[in-house]
Each structure stands twice: as C-alpha cells, then as structure tokens.
C-alpha cells in the first residue's frame, strides 16, 4: 500500500468499500436461496440444509461481520456528514470495527 494511504481513516474507507462489495456479491446467492422457496418446500429445505456445514457457518461469520461493519461504518459517515464536526473519527471507526467483530463473534458462538 502506498505510504500516503497508511492512515486509519483510509483503511476505514477501504473496509467500507470492500464490505459493500462483498455484500453486493452475496446478494444474488441470498436471492437464489430465497427463490428456492418458490420452487416448493423440499427444494428450499434442500438449499437450507446446505447451509448447515461448518465452512458455511464460518462464511456466515464473515458475512455478519461485513454487514455489521458496513452498517456501523455507514452510521459513522452519516454522523460525519450530518452532525456537528467531531475530531474523534479515528476512534469511531475503530469502535465500528470492534462492535462488528463482537456481533459477528456472538453470531458464531450461537451458530456452533
């Protein structure tokens, strides 16, 4: 990474972009599985049973993390653009990542 980019809020920007991209890529899969419900209960259950594997659980952890980090990162940006200026954005960005990680871990613990 180029030297001028090595600062926390650039990393926050990058994470926000990549998590958004990751979520966008996941959406078609999500709709496909939901779409199986239209094909009948059996087809839907079959699609769902595929989601029981441990690897998929781990991928879900990643997915929840992406969702949460994109959500809280987005809230931070909304606050930055619509509320009085704060000099704490490095801390807020770190907090968003920490909360997202916490939520994703909670999800993983419940999933196993």
């Amino acid at each position: 990474m180029k030297a001028h980019r090595r600062q926390p809020l650039y990393l926050a920007f990058l994470l926000h972009r990549l998590s958004g991209l990751g979520l966008a890529l996941f959406l078609p899969l999500h709709f496909y599985v939901l779409g199986r419900a239209l094909a009948g209960e059996a087809a839907f259950d079959e699609a769902l049973s595929w989601t029981e594997g441990p690897l998929v659980k781990l991928a879900e952890f990643g997915l929840v993390f992406l969702l949460a980090v994109h959500f809280f990162g987005g809230l931070r940006l909304l606050a930055l653009e619509n509320m009085p200026w704060s000099n704490q954005h490095k801390n807020y960005a770190a907090l968003a990542v920490a909360i997202a990680f916490f939520i994703a871990c909670g999800f993983l613990l419940r999933a196993v």
Binding site: K2, A3, H4, R5, Q7, L9, Y10, A12, F13, L77, L80, E81, N82, W85, N87, H89
Partner: protein, 242 residues
Amino acid sequence: MPMPNSDHIKVKVWRGDAGGGSFAEFEVPQQPAQTVLDVVTWIQRHADSTLSYRFACRVGMCGSCAMMVNGIPRWTCRTHVNKVVQDNRLTVEPLRNLPVIKDLACDMSEFFDKWKRAEGQFSGTNTRAQAVAAISPAEPARRAANAAIECINCAICYAACDVVSWNPGYLGPAALNRAWSLQNDSRDRRHGERLRAISADGGCLSCHSQQGCASYCPNELNPTASIAGLKKMAASAFFRSR
C-alpha cells in the same frame, strides 16, 4: 561515487519531466537540524546543478517547497531529515496529482484554477468609504472560518487526496476548504454562486472523507471538516429549494 558512509544519507531523487523520468541516487552529508529542503539544496549546489526544485521562504510561510518524501507529501523546509529518514534513506519526488515541469517542480496551474472554479475569491459588499465590518470573534461563522483560514496553498492535501487522482475534475481539499472559509464570511456577497459551484459535479459531494488531506496538512487544517460543512450547506439548500 564515494563509499557508503553512515554520516551520509542515501537520497533517491526523481529526475525527469512531463514525458517521464527516473530516480538518481546521491549521498548527502548529514548535518545537525538538517531539513529535507537542505538535502535537496545540497544536491543542487554540490552534486548536480541541473536539479530543478522550488522554494522561497524556507520558514513554512509560502507553501512552495512541497514534495513527496518517502511517499508522503510534506513541506520540505520544515521537515527535519531525522523525523522522516528510514534506514538512512530518503526518496524525494515531485508532488502527486500534479503534472511535472521538471524534476521536483510541478505545475500548480490546475490547483489554482480549481480555486477559481470553487469561487475562492473574496468579493465584498462594502467600499473603502464605508466603515470596517464589525465581526465578533465569538460568532460561530467567524469561528468556522478561522479554523480553515491559515492555508498556505502548498497543495500537500491535494497530493494526498485519492479522489483527485481518481477524478481529475474534483476540486480537491484546498479549494473546497477555501470556499468554506468564504461561505462563513458574512462580508462576502457571492455565497449563492459559490454554493452552486461547490455543489456541482466534482465539488464537495465527491469527497470520501478519508481525511488524507487532514492527516498531512502541515498547518493542521482539516479540509475534511470544511467539506463536511459544505455538504451540510449543499444539502440544506437542496431541501429548501424543494
């Protein structure tokens, strides 16, 4: 080339012009309290007199000496070598995001053209026959302008901004920061025109708030905060016009 010497710094300097170029290496004797500008000047005086670079005040006032130092845009006259040197090495390049004229001197025209495009010029209502406007230093608008006003036009923020590299039409942090200080100047009469200029394509709405500009501004200004202020102004003007 003399033998590598621990009291010498190895300096890679970009040489070339708009057509392209490459790095030349120099060994520069270390001095106490030496700045990066001192290093470049030493090279030009003692190693290669054809090296082109730009400076004027040497005390952080004029904003003409900015260069990329080890990949980060800095005012070289106020940057001490011992703060930035890595393994006894320095790499000095012309500022990013601006066309090079020769070696370390880049063409600032587009940077200043964007100040004009952002309506960066003060245009007052009073004539010299009238009394000086009384503005309380405690007024919120005056305080907002004050936070943005100490810009030395060095283009360090402009070089740090990736949106400028991705979208050459983007006005950039310095011009928008300037527009913000004027939007908060109650004596200025072009607030409407300026708001239109900075809300247009390539204006404040293109900023991604990464704060690269604020991380490297040598005067510790925060163009991101100014741009966030402009975004709020643009949004409220939009809703008022509905």
